[in-house]
Every structure is written in structure tokens, then in C-alpha cells.
Subunit: 196 residues, 2 copies
């Protein structure tokens, strides 16, 4: 059975928030065709999306014509601020969740999930500078400041930016196996050694 | 004085190879305007570039109309195979090096540098699966299999895919200061914790 993974794009999305998980999950799709994983990008409308630091990307679908999804990846970035309180964005997020998709976020993407009510009463995390907003936007969100990602079953939220790589490897381990996740970790030579 | 950093794009470039350093260096440009850093992307020709896993990007310039550069970032990916031995690509790479630019690579991007003769007699690294090719393409390349990145002054080569993030943080420390690099590390919340 096909696993369809959609990546939400929007103006002001932080580049690595979504390209980190993309690298892991789209490589999974490419390198392991027998696992039957499909990935696609979803933008609010046609035309190039301009990410937070100026990268311009063409998405595969608009939010309106998005195919049915098994997993959603919602990145963060400065662009999230404009989405909070927007009923169209809330409706899109709630609609994907209502399909039964596994909802995942990176960085301040979790603020949009909180704003849409998806995190009420749940443990969750976000970008280190946005943890207060996470608590404020939802009701009874159990903020986990020290976790790299929080898997609460139907929702997985990751910490800031680069944490999406760790979350995506966890996702592969959960959806397939730790062995497959280790294989993809090796593919991206993910033996991090921050020099500062 | 402005520091101009150009990111080479091409069909089949591995997404994280260049978006990892892009996140670090383009965030540096955006968050620290007084440091006067400019970033841009460079494609062989007009039109969308299709990266290795299907991400479609619009570049800021073509290789032909590239502005003068102080730093080049050359990613790897399956697309590099087609470039090896191509005199036009060799001429582009040698031309940027001849301007005095600091030449950096991620993953199999170093194979193109070796192919253009830039690594002859130098220590260098590459993707873990391509270290034999690195030795074969250059003359007297001192292959460093266990380094996350190798800084040989005029050329910095990084290991595979995610190693570009570590290399970019090193680059910020070298061009500005370890303090600035730590600030950007905090910005991308780079406290990696691979779950597998």
C-alpha cells in the first residue's frame, strides 16, 4: 500500500525545516521503490514559493488539489506568523488531519497545529524561541522544551530547523523499521560533528 | 566589504548537499546584515532545476551571468556523474577558482573539483561511497576518509550530504568568528540527536 507524504510549502517557510525531512523521506522513496513511498510538495497557490532565506521553489500541487495524504510535514519559519488565525489555513490543516493523516511538524510549524486546535491537551514541542507561543496558541498543550521531537501518536512535533532530520529518521523507523532508518542515515552520512 | 557566496545548482544535485549550507549561510546574510554577506544560486541555464529527489528550484543566475564570487559551494548528487569530463563545467569551476574564490564542496561535489584539477596534491574528502573516485579523478589527492570536512586553505571539501552543515558552520567561524558560527548554530537549533 502506498504511503503518501506531503510537504507544506509557503512564502517564508524556513528552508531546512522542510528540506531536512525531504532529504530523508524523498531519498527513501527514490532508493527503496519496493517500500512504495511517494512524496510531494504542496503550496497555497500556483507559482514559485519564496522561502525564508530567498530560495524559490515550484511545488507539485496546490493545497486545493492535494492528493489524499498519509503523512503531512508542516515546516516553520517567519511565514507562519501570517498564517496564525487564518481560517483557510486552519481548514486545510484540520482537513488533512480529518483524513487520518499522521500530522508532523518542524520548528514553528507546530504553532499552526496549535492554532488549529490539533495540539490541545497533547505533549508537543517547537522552536526554542517559540515555546511560549506554543502554550499560548493551544489549550493545555504540554510543552516539552528539551525534546528533539515529540511523538504523540497522531501528531509528531519536532524542535527547530535541523531537528526535522532527526524527526524524519524516527518517522522512517516507525513506519518501516529502524534498519531502514539506519540505511537512510548512512545515505545522508548523518554523523554530525558541529565544529563550534 | 561584501562577501558573495554562490551555490551551484544542476539537475540531479542532492537537495540537502546545498540546502544545509544554504540554511546556515543565507540565514547569516539575513540575520546579520552588518556582516554584509550575500548569497545566490547559480544554474547552468534558465528554467527550473530538478534536484536528485525531485525538488524543483529557480536559480538567481546562470553560470554565464554569475556575479564575481568570494566563495563557491558545489554540491554533489547523482547529477555530478554527467559533469565529469565536461570541458564547459571544468572551465566554469576553474574560472571561479582563478578569480580567487574560496572553493567549497559537499559530498560528490569534490569529484568535480578533482576532475577540474583543483585537488591535485591536496588533502580532500567526499561522500563515503565515492572516496575511490576522488583518488582516481585527481593526481595525488590525499583522501581523508574520516574527516567531516577538510580545510586546505583555498579549498574546503566536506563529506556526504549532511556534512555540509558542519562545513558551513566552520566557514562562518573562519570568515567571521566562532561566536557568529555558534549564533547560527543556535538559530538552526543544531543539537543533533539521531534516533537510530
Amino acid at each position: 500500500m502506498t504511503t503518501r507524504i506531503g510537504f507544506v510549502l509557503f512564502d517564508g517557510a524556513e528552508e531546512l525545516d522542510w528540506v531536512g525531512p525531504w532529504e530523508v523521506l524523498a531519498s527513501w522513496s527514490r532508493l527503496c521503490p519496493d517500500d512504495d513511498v511517494q512524496v510531494c510538495t504542496l503550496a497555497p497557490r500556483d507559482g514559485p514559493v519564496r522561502c525564508a532565506n530567498g530560495m524559490r521553489v515550484l511545488a507539485d500541487h496546490t493545497w486545493e488539489d492535494a492528493p489524499p495524504l498519509d503523512v503531512l510535514v508542516y515546516p516553520g519559519g517567519p511565514g507562519v506568523a501570517e498564517q496564525l488565525g487564518d481560517e483557510a489555513v486552519r481548514a486545510f490543516v484540520r482537513g488533512v488531519a480529518a483524513q487520518g493523516a499522521l500530522m508532523t511538524s518542524v520548528c514553528t510549524g507546530s504553532l499552526m497545529y496549535a492554532d488549529a486546535g490539533l495540539l490541545d491537551g497533547r505533549p508537543a514541542t517547537s522552536y526554542w524561541a517559540s515555546l511560549n507561543d506554543l502554550a499560548r496558541l493551544g489549550t493545555g498543550v504540554q510543552v516539552r522544551a528539551d525534546e528533539r521531537f515529540v511523538d504523540d501518536g497522531a501528531v509528531i512535533t519536532a524542535a527547530g530547523v535541523s531537528a526535522g532530520i532527526d524527526m524524519a529518521l524516527h518517522l522512517v523507523a516507525r513506519l518501516h523499521s529502524p534498519e531502514r532508518a539506519r540505511q537512510l542515515r548512512r545515505h545522508i552520512q548523518y554523523d554530525p560533528a558541529p565544529p563550534v
